[in-house]
């Protein structure tokens, strides 16, 4: 198994360039709404793209921006956060905190060259299996259209600073 433990940014590998590009998407779903919607999609046998890997957290408010950065750094082509609808948070307002962080982080990621469509926040309640399916499929298609994520090595991004 290749060693992936270093926190170095992953450089695009030739395999990923293949025409058969399958986006790798890491999702952070809250336990009470979106994770349950994903379970409901299963019991309803809704079919959706197999590109998403879910990390369950208690609340979308638990999603530390570093989790998102870590996912991108380790080769994710997209990151999806799923939480309860505004006003519905099991912990009252954790989803609002998630929204604030999402807005800031989204801007930061764009300035790093990570396209907007690669980072998405969705409000999906426990009964919205259909929404989950369409959100996942939509995101997979968007990211597929963008192609693999190429994170530029820092010397390319900031040549002057690095040269100094």
């Amino acid at each position: 198994m290749p060693d992936n433990k270093q926190n170095s940014l992953q450089v695009a590998s030739p395999e990923k360039e293949a025409a058969t590009f399958e986006p790798r998407i890491v999702a952070f779903f809250c336990t009470w709404c979106t994770y349950l919607a994903a379970d409901l999609a299963g019991t309803s046998r809704f079919k959706y793209a197999p590109n998403v890997r879910v990390v369950r957290v208690m609340c979308s408010g638990r999603v530390d921006p570093q989790f998102v950065l870590d996912a991108f750094a380790h080769g994710a082509d997209g990151v999806l956060i799923g939480g309860c609808h505004p006003g519905d948070c099991h912990y009252q307002e954790g989803n609002y905190k998630a929204l604030r962080r999402y807005r800031l982080l989204s801007r930061m990621l764009q300035s790093l060259g990570i396209e907007e469509q690669r980072f998405r926040l969705e409000w999906i309640s426990a009964s919205e299996a259909d929404h989950l399916r369409s959100a996942v499929n939509d995101m997979v298609e968007n990211v597929r259209a963008l192609g693999p994520l190429h994170l530029q090595p820092s010397e390319e991004m900031f040549p002057e600073e690095v040269a100094v």
């Binding site: 890491v26 379970d39 530390d64």
Partner: protein, 665 residues
Amino acid sequence: MPERKNGDHSSARIGVYVCHCGTNIAATVDVNVLSEYAATLPGVVVARNYKYVCSTPGQELIKRDIHDHSLNRVVVAACSPCLHEKTFRNVTAEGGLNPYFFQMVNVREQDSWVHTDKKAATAKGKDLLRAAVRRVALHKPLERKRVSINPNVLIVGGGIAGIHAALTLANAGKHVYLVEHDATIGGHMAMFDKTFPTLDCAACILTPKMTTVKSHPNITLWTYSEVAQVDGYVGNYRVTVKRKPRYVIEGACVGCMECIDACVYKQAKVPDEFNMCLGKRKPIYIPFPQAVPQVVVIDPESCIEFKSGKCKKTCVEACGDRNAIDFKQQESVETIEVGTIILATGFHTFDAKRIPYYGYGTYPNVYTALEVERLVNAAGPTGGEVVLRDGHKPATVAIVHCVGSRDENTNRHCSRVCCMYSLKLAHLIKEKTEAEVFNFYIDMRTPGKGFEEFYNRVAEEGTHFVRGRVADIFPNPGDDGRLLVCAEDTLMSAVVKIPVDMVVLATGLEPQPDAQEVRRRFHISCSTEGFFLERHPKLAPVSTFTDGVFLAGCCQGPKDIPDTVAQAGAAAAEALALIDIGYVEQEPYTAHVLEEVCSGCKTCVPLCPYQAISFVENKNKAEINEVLCKGCGTCVASCPSGSIEQNLFDDEEIFAEIEGLLAYA
């Protein structure tokens, strides 16, 4: 940010169990590939696949392996953790390990059931498994906390569900607070005349239970009241109840109703809500003769004293020494402490005006079923006579099924009770008027004890059945005052147009209009149609995702009276089970501050919705009260110095999971 600790796999001895779940998983995910792959992962000592890991032999297998291979961590790739995480934590504990040295991989609900490509599903399973193996190595031993349960119960809604649950709990010796929004308990059932299929008189079977509620020493009944706020957690809820002013002092009113006779309005002029506005009441009134409590109410909207302040107040005179009338009564607020809550807030009938081509509200002789229910009732506005608005008996009646049910434009769900209550109304109308009755139905749904027999009986009585959805209702050309009901009879493949005197719309059941507000107040979820969501549709039908909050009756979905009573009994039993054991074990997912790392920046303090974080001035550190902490982890994510840890969802555990997911196989 402090240096992240790398996962220590050297001491981990992990057992991995991949479940076939019959063919549920094995048909789409290659379980052999998964277990063989798991065996190659660092720290994995045993990796097996098994037909049903949750079965007794499956559980024994894990326990034996823990012993034989000195395992210290267990990973099961099977169904959703929502289903069997507890089961396998118990197995892990029975094997002699800390129950939290376990991680579940969801390869059924979130893999085999949602994908068709076996290769892709297996690859996903491998990623999820690798993440779990990396994560579980970092799990720390945790202990569940015990919280004591307050034995008092709050029941919201005083229909048959709330009444039955309240009596069950009160008879078991528990104190119940029954909060009802209306001025009386009884709910929809009190409005019904007869109940299907036995044709029991609804009042005869309901009102004795209502009076028992009022007189029961263990029940505090608050009518005309609403729950305003709910704080706390299972076993220890703190609830604020708003009691609306009824302008009559409940303890002083004896229900003699002399004030009603004495009202300056000699004739009742206000539409009577209990009779679906087909009758009239006075501004001071009692909703119906058997109302509980037997306490009058003043409607400030129509009372002259409230409108002008110049009434002679003959009601006050009639009340005399009892002095029960108090025009200055204010809303009061009560705060109670309860351990469990049962929601029995019922349903709302579909507003037939939403389907304009059925003419409800336009043509006076189009009625809703609930209105006809009041017409056939001896205590109703017509004294039990089924008559049209002009006083004539109808000679032909059409009953239109599925109004606001099974309809793409309104509600997709079946309201379950309409077929049966339509048959009941057909029988009662025929009995009272000898009218020809036509039932327009999509499908007859009569699944219940004695239901099909009742259907046959009504059919034998000569009620007509037309299989087809009614397309239009309009005045019969020729101006004979009748209505023409148009439908396609799908059994005859012909369009039928039947002139009738009366149309009864079998309106469906919908969630209460304030269901969304109510569920937010109680921190529960709704299903797509807007009914309250149960924890599991089969195995936890009266529980919710909020511990200690249970559901009974139509607030969870349309159902008939026997099912409602059964569910109310089940909800009461669930509450009793918690109360009787006296404590509840809480998941240990709380957060704590690493004092030596905390910089005292106070970022976390205002983020906590439960005020669990305080700032200790003399130490210049934040501190988390683990009793108040509910484990959302919002503070953990916000801490700039990484000094807050969350049990089982700690940074290093989640990083291990993310990196495990993305590590190429």
